[in-house]
């Protein structure tokens, strides 16, 4: 390790900053991002992250298709999104620079591993000249750092291969960025200890690289400013950083415990839902049964079997898998058994863009089955919210004896945010009663209903409640098969009314901002953060705008119609072509305006804010968020378009 003197450097205090690490999939960028996130969280910042994996398992090294990135937004105030633009970008190779530079703000800090900018790498990234040399980067604060060489120097003498040594580069990069944003190394040192304790050479190397990076920041003259982002004023409590699918798994386990049930998950792997299965499989000591089915239809129908058996039964998939479950969901609705169907939405239609995010399965959730086949639909708004939504879905499922569709999306599923850890004892129990052996002589009526129209959940094994259910129309009260026309109408109405009554359990909508005004932004699901932030920004500019976010998308809250009427305009931003908007228009006959984006990516705050301003100025047409339209002929593009895919 070189031992240069530490220089005195400026420290700027900032409200917030956004950093993105990017490099080849093999460069360990997800790890760098995660460590930076955790450290920032430990320092008390509010955080939001956005990992961006390549579609390939392992694309050839150095290619554009193989670039992996991780963005961290950290702040001393409340934040809801990973940030529209990047303040500091770390690019480990030319391909990473080429695909990520567009998001770096003018004047932003650009740290590159200059060692990687040699002929082959430049060529793979489609650069004809070296951007580090040809002046194209002059509007950024460029730091060319010979990371490969510096890392090698730092770990010199350790008994490892060159390749292994080079793998420590991400720790060097981390160290440098840690210094830049005034973060402590301890959490990462602890991580290294935990993770590589059994491989001391590697632990030593990573430690050395990390410290070298940090030290490099301290000493190299070219980098003369350090930034500091103070603690956020978060609600007091114990926090951890949580990923959406993990929060969802925890929420399911919690709901099971709160209702004193075994948890059964029937699932077939599919991106981006698989990690729900994987997470739950690790926690069997919570009385969790995970069944990896042969396909989604089996996953769905096994879930129905588990619900009949009396478990908290859940199935999880993504768009194409949910399409396959449609017929089974119909059976779940007809048998009126409680369960949860999770759809982690991804880019569609068909196989679509499997690793990307979208909100285009709302229609499928509400309408995608044969017959009159309604079910409640709830949507999580952020990674941590998945925890709450899972419990709420189950609460409604058992209160109304109905399958519930729970929507999240790829953005929520993989993103993370600080989560104030609840105390289990403080959580609200979920009451379930199963009928017991009937008093002598009473016949059990499987389709007799309570005031919420819920039928009894009689489970096999209970003497005297033997009964048969199925997919044919049921006679009211008895549950016997019935072909009676009047009964069919009655039952169709009953099932619809039951779902409508779920609205009785939806609390009055919270409105963020004044109760009336010029513009209401109505959102659902994962666009919450961008909408909330955009509305806050416009409120700060004195505009009469408010935000209303839907947690239940079906049924809609009872007060929604009145709320919308109090605003001159209603804007519905969605990552689809206007699915919620269609429903709102149909129900309320309100000429809601859409902001629609179907690009596999979340909204930026600016997109929403710009559209809001346009509407306020009088542009009342629904629009798409203008894609950064790419000249499809440009060389970088041309290469990017080469086949790539996901699961």
């Amino acid at each position: 390790m070189s031992t240069t003197a530490v220089l005195e450097k400026e420290i700027h205090t900032l409200d917030e900053a956004t950093v993105r690490f990017c490099g080849d999939s093999g460069d360990g960028m997800q790890l760098a991002g995660t460590q930076f996130t955790n450290t920032s969280a430990l320092m008390g910042n509010d955080i939001a992250t956005f990992p961006d994996f390549p579609a390939e398992i392992r694309a050839p090294q150095g290619t554009l298709a193989g670039v992996s990135g991780f963005q961290v937004h950290f702040s001393s105030t409340d934040i809801y999104t990973p940030g529209d633009t990047v303040d500091a970008l770390v690019a480990m190779n030319p391909a990473a620079l080429a695909t990520n530079l567009g998001d770096l703000r003018t004047g932003g800090i650009l740290i590159v591993n200059s060692d990687a900018f040699e002929a082959k790498g430049l060529d793979q990234a489609g650069y004809e000249t070296n951007p580090l040399e040809d002046g194209t980067l002059k509007s950024y604060r460029l730091h060319k750092v010979a990371m490969t060489k510096l890392t090698r120097a730092a770990v010199e003498g350790l008994d490892m291969s060159q390749k292994e040594k080079d793998r420590c580069r991400n720790f060097f990069a981390m160290g440098l960025v840690f210094w830049l944003y005034d973060r402590p190394l301890e959490p990462t040192l602890r991580y290294i200890e935990d993770k590589f304790g059994k491989k001391p050479e590697i632990a030593q190397a990573n430690t050395a690289a990390l410290k070298a990076g940090y030290h490099y920041g301290e000493t190299v003259e070219a980098i003369n400013t350090q930034f500091h982002v103070p603690k956020a004023k978060l609600t007091p409590g114990k926090y951890t950083s949580i990923v959406g699918n993990t929060a969802l798994a925890y929420g399911l386990m919690t709901a099971a415990r709160l209702s004193n049930k075994r948890l059964f998950l029937g699932a077939y792997p599919i991106t981006p839902a698989s990690s729900i299965l994987e997470e739950l499989a690790r926690h069997k000591n919570f009385d969790v049964l995970t069944f990896q089915a042969e396909d989604e239809i089996a996953a769905m129908t096994a879930t129905i079997g588990a619900a009949f058996a009396g478990a908290m039964a859940v199935t999880a998939s993504s768009g194409p898998g949910i399409a396959l479950k449609g017929e089974g969901i119909g059976l779940a609705i007809m048998t009126e058994l409680p369960m949860i169907v999770i759809n982690v939405q991804r880019g569609g239609p068909s196989t679509g863009l499997p690793t990307k995010t979208e909100q285009a399965d709302l229609f499928q959730a509400i309408f995608g089955r044969n017959g009159e086949c309604p079910m409640p639909v709830i949507a999580a708004c952020s990674p941590a919210d998945c925890f709450d939504v899972a419990q709420e879905a189950w609460r409604i499922a058992v209160r109304y004896m109905v399958p519930v569709m729970l929507l999240t999306d790829g953005y929520i599923a993989n993103g993370s945010e600080p989560w104030r850890i609840p105390k289990y004892a403080d959580l609200k129990k979920i009451e379930i009663t199963h009928p017991g052996r009937p008093s002598n002589g009473d016949t059990f009526l499987a389709y007799r209903r309570d005031e919420r129209l819920a039928r009894p959940w009689a489970i096999p094994g209970t003497p005297g409640l033997e009964h048969r259910i199925g997919g044919l129309e049921k006679q009211d009260i008895t549950g016997n098969v019935s072909y009676d026309p009047a009964n069919h109408q009655h039952m169709v109405n009953l099932r619809a009314e039951k779902v409508a009554r779920v609205a009785n359990d939806i609390p009055p909508q919270k409105i963020d901002g004044p109760a009336s005004g010029d513009l209401l932004v109505l959102s659902w699901g994962g666009t919450y953060g961008a909408c909330a932030t955009a509305v806050h920004n416009l409120q700060a500019k004195g505009k009469a705008v408010s935000h209303c976010h839907l947690r239940w998308v079906n049924p809609l809250p009872k007060d929604l119609g009145d709320i919308m009427k109090r605003f001159k305009k209603v804007l519905i931003p969605e990552l689809n072509l206007g699915q919620l908007r269609t429903i709102i228009r149909a129900i309320y006959l309100i000429d809601a305006i859409g902001l629609n984006k179907v690009q596999g990516k979340p909204f930026s705050v600016a997109e929403v804010a710009n559209k809001m301003e346009a509407v306020l100025r009088g542009d009342l047409s629904s629009t798409e968020a203008p894609p950064e339209m790419s000249d499809l002929e440009a060389p970088v593009k041309a290469i990017l378009e080469k086949v790539s895919h996901g699961g």
Partner: protein
């Protein structure tokens, strides 16, 4: 799980539900229902611990007629529904009732996976070689050349042999019975019920409306002794009206031989339902009337293997034993945490 209370003594009629049976008069399904009701009281399992799951088809109406728990699910999916049920509640006795269309056409994959998982399910496939409920299209077991509503010039797909497939996917119990051989049918159902692990039973069932006589050769008094072969564990394979014919192995191939004339019982193939390897069962499953063989009935194979439903619950117990009953508060705080004051 064992039952603690002394069981009330039940009769077959106690297993009849209050629903009118809605099969065509003369349908083979009646006989199977009757035998099922008959063996039920002999199993020592209380009614409330028994569940019948079916798909869609004439055969799949079965659960409605049993006064147990039941679900008439959707077409082809009964094995999957049953898998969810049995996984959560291994203490229940779960029956799957399916047809040749329900089980082998739309539901083939679920059947295959339920079998290979070896859950303790009793799967009874009513094979009438036709789609009954949809009024007479050919099924995956309809013979080549079969003319049906959907194959007016004759079927051109090779029929599937249910037992060959079951054996091809690791079945631990495989058997065959005939709707009209009621005593034997009852015995086979009982054996299936008692087997620990998946039991797969094919029942030759007559659909007298859309495929009458499909199994005539195996059912008619004059022919049946020559066209069927009752398998008995440990016994030589003898058949024929005069019990004068047998099956002998010639290399890998079975052949029909006449007893006497220098061939004694000892030269015959002996049945071994417990053979470690399923090759014998597979070979028996391939013996077909049209190739000049008697078709075996009875238990082809009955071996013990670990059960999925037990193992999945064992994993819960094992992890619980290792780590203790899951503590959510601990789990929530298991990653890096920080305090905000």
């Amino acid at each position: 799980m064992s039952v603690d209370l002394p069981l009330p003594v039940l009769k077959p009629a106690d297993f009849a539900s209050d629903q009118d049976v809605r099969w065509c008069p003369g349908c083979g399904d009646y006989a199977i229902l009757a035998q099922m009701k008959k063996i039920m009281p002999t199993l020592g399992i209380p009614r409330e611990k028994i569940v019948f799951i079916s798909g869609i088809g004439c055969s799949s109406r079965f659960p409605y007629y049993m006064n147990t728990y039941g679900m008439h699910s959707i077409h082809g999916r009964a094995p999957a529904v049953a898998t969810g049920l049995k996984t959560v509640r291994p203490d229940l006795q779960v029956w799957v009732i399916t047809g040749d269309g329900d089980g082998l056409s739309i539901g083939g994959n679920h059947l295959m996976h339920a079998i290979r998982r070896n859950l303790d399910l009793n799967i009874i496939l009513f094979n009438n070689r036709i789609y009954g409920l949809t009024k007479g299209q050919y099924s995956p077991t309809s013979p080549l050349g079969k003319k049906t509503k959907s194959t007016p010039m004759g079927a051109i797909d090779n029929p599937l042999h249910p037992l060959s497939i079951a054996i091809g996917c690791e079945a631990t119990f495989v058997a065959r019975a005939i709707d009209t051989e009621i005593k034997h049918l009852g015995e086979v159902l009982k054996r299936a019920a008692e087997h620990q692990g998946v039991s797969f039973v094919e029942v030759y069932q007559n659909c007298n409306v859309f495929n009458d006589g499909a199994w005539a050769y195996a059912k008619e008094r004059e022919t049946k002794a020559d066209t069927t072969l009752e398998l008995v564990h440990g016994k030589p394979m003898i058949f024929g009206k005069n019990r004068d014919k047998g099956i002998r192995l010639n290399g890998m191939n079975p052949e029909v031989v006449e007893l006497g004339k220098g061939i004694s019982e000892d030269d015959l193939l002996f049945h071994d339902e417990k053979a470690a390897e399923p090759s014998l069962a597979y070979l028996l499953s391939r013996m077909r009337y049209e190739d000049g063989f008697p078709e075996p009935i009875g238990v082809f194979r009955a071996v013990e293997r670990p059960r999925y439903d037990v193992m999945i619950n064992d994993q819960v117990e094992q992890m619980t034993a290792e780590r203790g009953k899951g503590d959510l508060d601990k789990l929530f705080a298991s990653g890096d945490t920080w305090e905000v004051a």
